[in-house]
């Protein structure tokens, strides 16, 4: 492919072999409404923290489902748990529980308890 001047854009590669879906699976087990998300972005657009810093639950949940956890791990603590996202969510996703479960899963992963 390289010879023809075409390369794969790194950002578009989802490498399921190296990705870790355990966090997303842990959340799905404990909060089934995680499945309902249609990635509309209402949560991100109303987010209190998002007004100050690039924090988007829409992005984070896509990354979680892909198993690309690093960005989620460093950003998930920015949430203030104010609850606006769950009020505007058109699908009734329990967003705050997803964030709390993600935090807990990362903490468990650090202590190898998952």
């Amino acid at each position: 492919m390289d010879k023809f001047g075409f390369t794969l854009s790194k950002a578009r590669v989802i490498d399921l072999d190296s990705n870790d879906r355990s966090i997303a699976e842990y959340i799905l087990r404990n909060e089934p409404s995680f499945r309902l998300c249609i990635e509309c972005g209402c949560c991100a657009s109303t987010c209190t923290a998002g007004a100050y810093t690039p924090f988007s639950l829409r992005e984070l949940q896509i990354l979680l489902k892909r198993g690309e956890n690093e960005k989620v791990r460093t950003n998930i603590g920015k949430c203030m748990l104010c609850g606006k996202c769950s009020l505007v969510c058109p699908r009734g996703v329990n967003t705050r529980n997803i964030i709390e479960l993600a935090k807990k899963a990362f903490k468990n992963q650090e202590t190898h308890a998952i």
Partner: protein, 634 residues
Amino acid sequence: MQFDPFVIPFNIGLYFILFYVVGRSIIWFRGLSRPDKLRLQRGFFGKAFGQSLKEIFMESLIHRKILKTNPRLGYMHMSLAFGWFLLILFGTIEADIFGEKHLNHPYKAIFFKFFNPEHGRAGFEAVWAFLMDLILLFILSGLLLAVIKRFSPKVVGMRKSTRLKGLDKVALTSLWLIFPARLIAESLTSGAYHSGSFLTGTLGSWLASFLPANDLAYPFWWLYSLSLGTFFIMLPVTRYLHIPTELFLIFMRNSGIRTGDKSGSFSEVQVYSCSSCGICIDQCQMNFAAGIKNIQPVYLMKAIRNDEDTSHIAYNCLLCGRCDQKCPVGIELSPVRMIQRRESSAESGFTNIWKGYFRKRNHADLHEANGHHSYGYLPGDQSAEKAEVLYFAGCMTHLTPGIIRSMTRILDASGLKWSFLDRDGGACCGRPLMLAGQDREARELINFNSKLIWQSGAHTLVTSCPICYKVFRESYYLDVEVFHHSQFIKHLIDEDIVKMNFLNTRVVYHTPCELGRGSGIYEEPKDVIRHVAELDETEYENENSLCCGGSLANIKISYSDRQKIAVDAAARLTASNPEVLVTSCPLCKKTFSSATATKVADICEIAAEAVADHQLEKNNLSETYSLKESVDIF
């Protein structure tokens, strides 16, 4: 010397429980903080002592609060507790007067009839025997109710009785056996000796007519002693530990000890004082509106006692506080739940039943900070404009712009110099994090907001959100007067700063949990409503108000269950078909809006509509945020 081997099980049980309770009390006392120890000592040797004795009599024996909430259930508890107490008291006196000597060993009072079978034939003795029979009948009637309740809670006026664990069932069976065993043992003895009063005497002579009463009595005396002994030995590992613990709790509470933020002796005593009466289950909207029946305080207390993982219970609660209002023991249920949220209670260690006797203390293992600041992105250099009155809308209010428009209109009409602190959406007040048990993270937000408020130089802070109001009042250390907007509007009306017209609208008022039970603000919003509209009463006023279901305190509940609670609550509140359902919380407004066909409005919206137009023109000094659109909700 009156003695028989059958009294041994009773004696073992009695001495075991006495030593256990004394030992446990010493451990609890030593676990108190120094100021609390002093409080308890002062309370014990001071005025609080009499009050505690009175409360023990009224609550632990008569069960006045349960009687008020549910007379049949109250009678059941009263007959068992007060009846048993009377039986012991009068039995002791009986043994003292009519026994072989004064100051007898306790077993002689309990098994008096066995050692004095001839007693109670005539004269004063017969009167006394009549009294003892009457008390026994009183207890047995309560016991009958208890047995019925176990199988059909509705008979005693309860929606649901408490689920029991295995050990509780053993203790319950031995408790249920105690009084029938006594009845039959006494009756048979009376039948054999032709003594006894209206109950034991009659039953006894009937039984003796076709049974060998004298031979049969002895095994029943054994059964009576065994069931007493079993009950006493089971007591520490079952819910019945509440019987001695509640006395300790009453003394502690009357001495001025409160739950606080961390677990300690007092919260532990509260947990063990829960009698699993189940009144909290009936109060809980998650039970009667959404059908969630396993997270009520009684189950939380039980899970803590059994050292189980409490996280799924602790977080699945609206923290509306309805159960706190009705708990007959007066346990501070919501603060105890908050302690559980703050502690990481992941590990469960209840492996064998003997451990129950030496339960480990609850350790306050607070959430560790992540090492780095979570909210480091908040701008450190943001400054607030100077103003006398500061308006903080709050996150939820930003989702209900009608409230912001109305408050702008009212504040403009007041002519006060005001500024809008979070016009472009400021940081959260910190309360949702606190409700999730993350106090350290919440403190960062509190510091950020405090700095802004302090910079503005304001003397008054008005907020539209009861959630913010509670945290501003309780957890911010600020030199400003904090008002919820309903209080502020009342102030404007009382001081004649803003004139309002009367709208011919019939409304009902829903008290938000955080404002009502949370902060004790009940009357001000109603006064404002009465000033501008016609206020109807509902069945759910003040302390008995409902939760809208939207509460931020519950992280676990699903959207559909929330909606069930909202629809149920809205239907109950609008039973009288009002034109508008008024509330004073943006979250309640938003939750109710999608749950009822009735118009839902915030208190400031009806107040803003009532503001006389000419006044707005006269006083409209605010250049920063003047209102172009008119407020029109009806």
